[in-house]
């Protein structure tokens, strides 16, 4: 297959299909992933083509889904689990944190846990409570998990391939409000390493770091800043555990300023770790403190307020201006 333009959700679907074709041990599990194709149609057509034995509609119980996926992994399967929305991963949190993340270490490496947990996350789609959250920090803090999020269709395809190929549990956060964004996917390309950040736009005055849904906002902000004569570099982190601090450090050593953007609440969000570590690594390079733009310390608001809650162009540019003012 050559390069093709497709939506981010279509890229995930294609990636799942490839994985199901290539490895009979790959399974898809989740609520409504079968006939319905998932509430976002990400698994559309897969059950029809691969059967109920490989694309499995599960009982409505997230702990059960992850717990049985662990058991299937112990039997040699490679389950790809779908959690229907970000806010519904918490019933499975115990199995993820106390079992999935720790089983490999508990066995001193004898057991592998190739389980991928796909979670559509983030806001901006006008949804009701629990459907717009960004809980990635709650997973990245936990050793034993890898946490990633693509920002575009190509990464969506390739990072999922790599996640399914990994022998570690991977939490794969899907930027649901970018599901329909289209971009080029080359399914025969050689992908970048799974946890490598990518300079999405080069610049010299300041670095914007983001992942998932916020990369587009940052790219837009960089474009707007350029019109005002400010050269803003955008780094797409792609991975929240591990974080590619080397790439980020390289960028900040060049620009001297860093603003981190994510939808998740700022307080103890991934931006906190990035700020702390980059400040330590780049103490003599930073012209300004690392600034953070993110959600507030409040439950994700009703959708009529989400435009205010979510970092948008203006809030990002405000932080850029503040950082440049130092």
């Amino acid at each position: 297959m050559a390069a093709e333009k497709m939506s981010l959700s279509k890229a995930i679907n294609a990636s799942l299909r490839t994985a199901l074709e290539n490895d009979p041990k790959v399974l898809i599990m989740g609520e409504d992933v079968g006939k319905l194709g998932g509430v976002f149609r990400v698994t559309d057509g897969l059950q029809k083509d691969f059967g109920e034995d490989r694309v499995i509609d599960t009982p409505l119980a997230e702990s059960g889904i992850v717990g049985t996926a662990i058991g299937l992994a112990l039997r040699g399967y490679r389950p790809v689990v779908e959690i229907q929305f970000d806010g519904f991963v918490f019933p499975a949190y115990d199995q993820i944190v106390t079992q999935l993340a720790k089983m490999h270490a508990r066995s001193l490496g004898k057991v592998k846990m190739p389980v991928v947990i796909r979670i559509p996350y983030g806001g901006g789609i006008g949804a009701v409570e629990h459907h717009s959250e960004s809980p990635e920090a709650l997973f990245a803090h936990v050793a034993g998990l890898k946490v990633i999020s693509p920002s575009n269709a190509s990464d969506a395809y390739w990072m999922l391939q790599q996640a399914i190929g990994s022998d570690d549990p991977v939490i794969y956060f899907e930027p649901k409000r970018r599901y329909h964004d289209k971009s080029e996917v080359d399914t025969s390309a050689i992908p970048a390493p799974l946890h490598a950040a990518r300079v999405a736009r080069p610049g010299t005055d300041l670095t914007l770091a983001a992942y998932g849904p916020m990369v587009k906002v940052c790219l837009d902000a960089a474009a707007a800043a350029a019109e005002e004569g400010k050269s803003v570099e955008v780094v797409d982190l792609r991975s929240m555990s591990p974080i590619d601090f080397d790439t980020l450090q390289g960028s900040v050593e060049r620009t001297g300023r860093l603003v981190v953007v994510h939808e998740a609440p700022v307080f103890l969000g991934t931006g906190a770790e990035i700020a702390a570590r980059i400040t330590e690594r780049c103490f003599y390079h930073l012209e300004a403190p690392v600034l953070r733009v993110g959600g507030f310390h409040a439950p994700y608001p009703p959708s009529r307020l989400e435009d205010e809650y979510l970092p948008g162009l203006d809030r990002v540019l405000d932080a850029v201006d503040r950082a440049l003012a130092y």
């Binding site: 194709g37 409505l60 519904f88 409040a298 009703p302 205010e308």
Partner: protein, 385 residues
């Protein structure tokens, strides 16, 4: 134990569950409590009986009609963009009105997100229910005003709240009961099982009311269980019963008995109301992808409103005037709801910082102030243009 060694292994979960399902359907038919048939005939049941005045019967009919009308209006409002989403109760009116009208004032309700009919019975202003679907709040009503708790979206979690509340009633020595609503899908959640355990161990006065509407979004009940759900209770040490969820009389009678049981210290009980979700799961859903038109048509013949209409008419308990009056009342309700929704203002930007805490929190104060200053910076900028 039958000898099984000679048999060949059969491994397909699919085959198994459909077998389980067949068994379930058979069991379901025999065990169903019904007092009013789909054809509108009154029948008797050995354990559950009911005797209602014409007024009460017309009242139940009115409740169901107004609830359906309100629900239809909300669906329309969603299509018109006034609501972001709507979860319709179409088809489940009898389950909700029957159980809702069984409640005393001091009883307490823990709903899911679909209990608009129960809310109606509690006297909750229907427009209150629409705020969260419009996106102006996450519920926001005072549960204690009508003893009707906030809608809960995380499947199953409210059954534990209900159980705790019921434990509190028991501690207070009070004479009331709690009813916890949940769906067939919810029955799989660990929280629901834990609520069964807690309520049994503490003998809490709670009635678990499961509306088995046959579907959890796209998944049929066989994906959740291979025996009828009402049987789940027995293994936890309390009774379960399956009632015709499209029969408002049976739902009322069974729920009354279960509540009375709870109020008199006999502990929890599970009611499975066997019904059908006539519409989509929510306005975001497309049921044609996973279920047949025939299935829906079959259930249309069991419509809860239709059968009571037949009964009222045949028995001469309601006349054209009554029905026409109700039609006018429905229209008025729809208009009131429509107007109220359209008038519902967006919350103030700073509202998102409110109510995170009751006693305040320094970080919230700091972020609110920063955000206010940020917002103000724009006003100034605009003024400057």
């Amino acid at each position: 134990m039958e000898s099984t060694a000679a048999r060949k292994p059969r491994r397909s979960g699919a085959k198994r569950t459909s077998a389980g399902n067949a068994k379930k359907k058979a069991a379901g038919q025999t065990d169903l409590v019904q007092l009013l048939t789909p054809e509108g005939e009154r029948v008797e049941h050995p354990e559950y009986s009911i005797d209602l005045t014409p007024d009460e019967l017309r009242g139940l009919y009115r409740d169901m009609v107004l609830t359906r009308r309100f629900d239809a209006e909300a669906t329309t409002l969603q299509r018109q963009g006034e609501l972001g989403l709507w979860a319709s109760l179409l088809g489940q009116e009898a389950a909700q009105i029957g159980s809702g009208r069984a409640l005393n004032d001091s009883d307490y309700v823990f709903p899911t997100y679909r209990e608009h009919g129960v809310a109606w019975c509690r006297g909750v202003d229907p427009t209150n229910l629409l705020g969260m679907f419009r996106g102006v709040n996450h519920g926001g009503w005072d549960p204690n005003s009508n003893n009707f708790h906030l809608y809960t979206i995380v499947i199953g979690s409210q059954t534990l709240h209900a159980t705790g509340y019921a434990m509190g009633i028991a501690k207070d020595g009070a004479d009331s009961a709690v009813i916890a609503y949940f769906g067939d899908g919810a029955s799989s959640q660990g929280d629901v099982a834990e609520s069964f355990t807690f309520s049994a161990v503490y003998n809490a006065p709670v009635v678990f009311f499961c509306q088995n509407n046959q579907w959890a979004i796209s998944e049929p009940t066989e994906r959740q269980t291979r025996v009828p759900l009402y049987q789940r209770a027995q293994g936890f040490g309390f009774p379960g019963v399956r009632v015709d969820g499209n029969d408002v009389l049976a739902c009322l009678a069974v729920t009354r008995a279960a509540l009375e049981r709870a109020r008199t210290g006999q502990g929890p009980m599970l009611i499975e109301a066997f019904t059908y979700r006539m519409g989509a799961h929510t306005t975001s859903d497309d049921p044609t992808r996973y279920r047949s038109a025939e299935e829906r048509e079959l259930w249309e013949t069991k419509d809860p409103i239709l059968r009571l209409h037949t009964y009222l008419t045949k028995q001469g308990l309601a006349d054209e005037e009554f029905f026409a009056g109700l039609e006018r009342e429905s229209d008025a309700l729809a208009k009131r709801v429509r107007d109220a929704v359209r008038a519902m203002p967006d919350p103030d930007d700073l509202a998102m910082f409110e109510h995170t805490y009751a006693d305040g929190h320094a970080l919230v104060d700091e972020e609110r102030a920063q955000f206010a200053a940020y917002q103000a910076s724009f006003v100034t900028a605009e003024e400057g243009i």
